[in-house]
């Protein structure tokens, strides 16, 4: 009976002291004192041999019960302290995540770059290759090979920057057509975005340096309705909505027939507004079937092959997309303007 009282007293005092522990530090000595190898419970089990076998079984069972009770109280109390400590730490680590990010903020891509890449990606997905040509071109590539002979009035339409040595700054991206046809031959699907030059006075709507995207498709049977299809696909993708287009006759020496393509005004949708000069339509791009002379001059047999070509004003598109009202800002290098085009 003595042993039973002793165990029950041990149990009670251990549980009381665990409950009373103020910290993990208080708890550990207690564990050693009660459950340790030389602890109080171990002391009780040492006295086992003095007991009768019946008592031994009974007391042994009781001892185990007490040991388990104390151990589990101890573990629970320990876990409690650890959780509290973790919670305290977590709370202390409160951080204001609305503070500005560290490091450098990303820069911006030029609005023309953005538009150009969008259109490049679209055409690549339609099987077109992207070609480049130089900014300085020969007279032949810029004019003659595009069916614009020296006497042609179209040369007056384009105010050309002439360079010493007889070359010129390309007045359109069309010379890249010529380069593409010579380099790759038919069948051919290509676009050529790039910088072009016209010798013009600069004001809010005129620039001597601007950007075009030339496109060309040459195959066995390319028709006017194929051209319309591509232009509609292109424009719906650019404007991210279904667009209504109309084709009307337009004169460009390197195409025959040649067209001006208009889109129905995206601002008023047709009835007329200042943007479309009250016509309901906005002139967007010249296009047409490639003139047989142009194919011939680039070594392609016009009896076997034909195709379409178009020229898209990237500068104009960027201005439409972002509602830029002064063309000079595009070449102005002013970060107050450019930084607005951060991705």
């Amino acid at each position: 009976m003595e042993a039973e009282q002793l165990l029950s007293g041990l149990r009670q005092s251990a549980l009381d002291r665990i409950a009373a522990a103020a910290s993990l530090d208080d708890l550990e000595p207690l564990r050693v004192e009660v459950l340790g190898r030389n602890g109080a419970l171990a002391g009780v089990s040492k006295d086992f041999k003095k007991l009768t076998p019946e008592d031994r079984a009974r007391i042994g069972k009781l001892l185990n019960e007490v040991k388990q009770a104390v151990e589990s109280a101890f573990e629970a109390r320990k876990a409690g302290f650890e959780t509290a400590a973790l919670n305290a730490r977590l709370d202390a680590e409160w951080l204001d995540l609305t503070l500005p990010a560290s490091g450098v903020r990303p820069g911006a891509l030029h609005p023309v770059t953005r538009i150009q890449r969008e259109i490049e990606e679209l055409f690549v997905s339609l099987g077109f290759t992207v070609l480049d040509g130089p900014e300085v071109e020969t007279e032949v590539n810029n004019f003659d090979a595009l069916n614009i002979p020296p006497t042609h009035p179209a040369r007056d339409m384009q105010d050309t920057f002439w360079l010493e040595g007889g070359n010129l700054l390309r007045t359109h991206t069309s010379p890249v057509q010529v380069r593409g046809m010579r380099k790759l031959g038919p069948p051919l699907r290509m676009i050529a975005p790039g910088r072009v030059f016209r010798n013009e006075e600069v004001d809010a709507s005129h620039e001597h340096t601007f950007y075009q995207l030339e496109g060309m498709m040459i195959d066995r049977d390319v028709s006017v309705t194929n051209l319309i299809y591509f232009m509609k696909t292109l424009l719906s993708s650019i404007f991210k909505r279904e667009v209504t287009v109309r084709l009307r006759p337009g004169y460009f020496p390197f195409v025959e027939p040649g067209f001006e393509l208009d889109i129905q005004c995206l601002i008023c949708g047709g009835p007329g507004c200042p943007v479309c000069k009250h016509s309901g339509w906005v002139e967007l791009l010249p296009c047409g079937l490639v003139h047989p002379n142009v194919l011939q001059m680039s070594g392609i047999d016009p009896k076997e092959w034909n195709g379409f070509a178009f020229g898209l004003g990237l500068t104009r598109l960027a201005m439409m997309r972002y509602q830029i009202d002064d063309i000079r800002q595009l070449q102005g290098g002013d970060l107050r303007f450019l930084n607005q085009f951060t991705a």
């Binding site: 023309v112 020969t138 920057f161 195959d219 009307r248 004169y251 027939p257 047989p292 991705a343």
Partner: protein, 771 residues
Amino acid sequence: MKFSYQWISSLVDGLGNVVEPRELMRLITMKTAECEGLEEAGALLANATPAEVLVVEPIEGSHNRKAVVRTIAYGEKTVVCGAANCRVGLWTMYAPIGIKKISGVESDGMLASGRELGINRDHEGILELSKPELGLQPDWVIEVDNKSLTHRPDLWGHYGMAREVSAITGKPLRDPVDMALLPAASAEPVKRVAIGDFTLCPRYSGLVFENVTVQPSPLWLQYRLEAAGLNPINNIVDVTNYVLAELAQPMHAFDADKLRGDTIFVRNAGNGEKIVALNKEEYELDDTNLVIADAGGAIAIAGVIGGDESAIGDGTTRIVLESACFNATSVRKTAAKIKNRTDASMRFEKSQDPENTVRGLARAVALLQEVSPGIRLVGGLIDSYQPLPKVAPIVLSTEWVQRKLGHPVAAAEIKRILEALQFGVSNGEQPGEFIVEVPSWRATKDISLREDLVEEIGRMIGYGEMTPTAPLVPSVVPPANPTREFHHHLRDLVAAQGYTEAYNYSFLSDETIAEFGLAAQQPIRVLNPIASDQAYLRTSLVPRIVNNIRENRKHFETFRLFEIGHEIHRNTEGLPTETPHLAAAFFAKDGDGSAGLFELKRLASCIVPGIEVRPCDALPYEHPARAAELFADGTRVGRLFELHPSMVEAGRAAILDLDLAAAETLSHGRKIQYKPLRRFPTSAFDLSVVTGERTLVGEIEAGLRAYATANVTAIEFQRQYSGPPLAAGQKSVSYRITVGAADRTLSSAEVSAVRDAIIEGMRSRGYELRV
């Protein structure tokens, strides 16, 4: 080019009642040429009415007078009028514009001048009528974009446009020309023509008239000219302008009594030959200019402007009427040279139809008889002509047209359209095949190929009628453009590092070339710049980037920007070399400048891994102690420098200039080779090298590498230090060196051997080692 709706209506039967001006404009835009605008002309005419002046009284204290008029439509009215020609008994035009108090008197409506009515430009006085009737109605003027008429000589006159309108609407075209009015073929001309070169003047035709009365044209004719944007002058000149505006045939009238000799010469001007033109300007010509001359000298600059001496005046009684055809290029160049593009030269520039000259004369005869009663023809038709080579008939198959258009069109429809446009169409050998004769007014340069006919058919059908169709072509992966992909990748990379993309001009000015010392690169000169900053092509992106820095410095304390563009370098022959470059700049108002330089160095190594910086002699615009060339794999790829402090105010700018052609080659050549992970542990030791303060860390590192054996796996810079206990002017540079072998753990003796070799080697180079 301005087209009068009434004029076109007069040439297309039944048009006026059916197709409104705005609809006509739309049809012309969609099927023929771009219309830019529609304006009402003679708006006041709608309600204006003839009126007889009954009473004229002065108004005290005013130059205006009070007039009582009897109007045909509105009864008697009292108006205030300032015109000097307002007199009792005058028939003029009254316009009911409401009651207004003028000079203290209530004016109910107004008496109108020719200008106010839109009939002519006369604003001297009110319109004078010869009879109590005017018979003019408001008109509409359709303005067509001249550029869209570049290839269409025939559309520079109302008749040509009427032909289009007739084809579009199906209404019959009415030819205003009556060839029977020309003198009989048997009649001898009284003037001879001598054409020096028929390529410059394929045809020169003319007529001589006598008993001419020079006077103002009838108001209907003035009104027509005014609508077409031509200034009425006198009946003779007005008739030439009328024919020009109707048939696109420029004409000129000479005073026959002022011509010397009986031969008209068409010849090149002498070098330095002078002529005073109708506009009283004296022009000095050369032998590239064509003139019309008589026995005494030049009397007109061919196809551009007449001479003053032989001009029609009030006393003119006999005239020579010229109706000729001149070479387009020759006229264009002459007009450009004398800087006077006239209504005539603009038409000749488009390659006019030589068949049209006599038609113009026949039309002029009819008009002259109306505007100069009693006028008489003298002698026969003057006509010297060498026809141009004819355009061969075009074989056109319906099937081919359908393939080109991608639209089903019936053979009968093709025939109908071409015939409506007055092409000659006959059946070819195959079914659905046509032989098409090109009319003379389309043959001068516009149409010679079957493709040209597709345009005629397509536009008349209307492209809106055609269904967009995806082409049936094989699906292929397009050839890649690695250069462009590389540049796109760089743009993303550099922008992600905080740099904003700018676009700059490809030009440099003289001043910039001097400031940046670029003259040695011999930039290519622009021959015809319109501004001084377009004098040369850029051989470097840096000057414009510096300009960006100078401008943006006014608004930002710190900023980053970049540009990808072409440097353009002269070659001895052929096209110049265009090298893509990336120029990036970091500007900070504060700081010692090192942050920007090292940030850009890091950027460069993101673009070209393994890039090496070698300090070099500075260019004139670079900080002399902060300039370096960049190398990778032994190739020079660019420069990194701080902008010379004298080039930018209050702040420091670091600039990176990379040759992207070189960088791209390096990036394509770079192969990544996987090495198995080390299975045996490595060990590391630290070394500090003590040396002079300006010894390059790059050199020290190169030394360490030179003495490192194969077992050295890494040499990592730790830090550099100067200050006590080091002597002044000394610095210590520390490295951590890692060694290891792929197949075993190195023994400590082996590690020591590596270490000792490095230490000994560095000491032999004169470095002091702290270990």
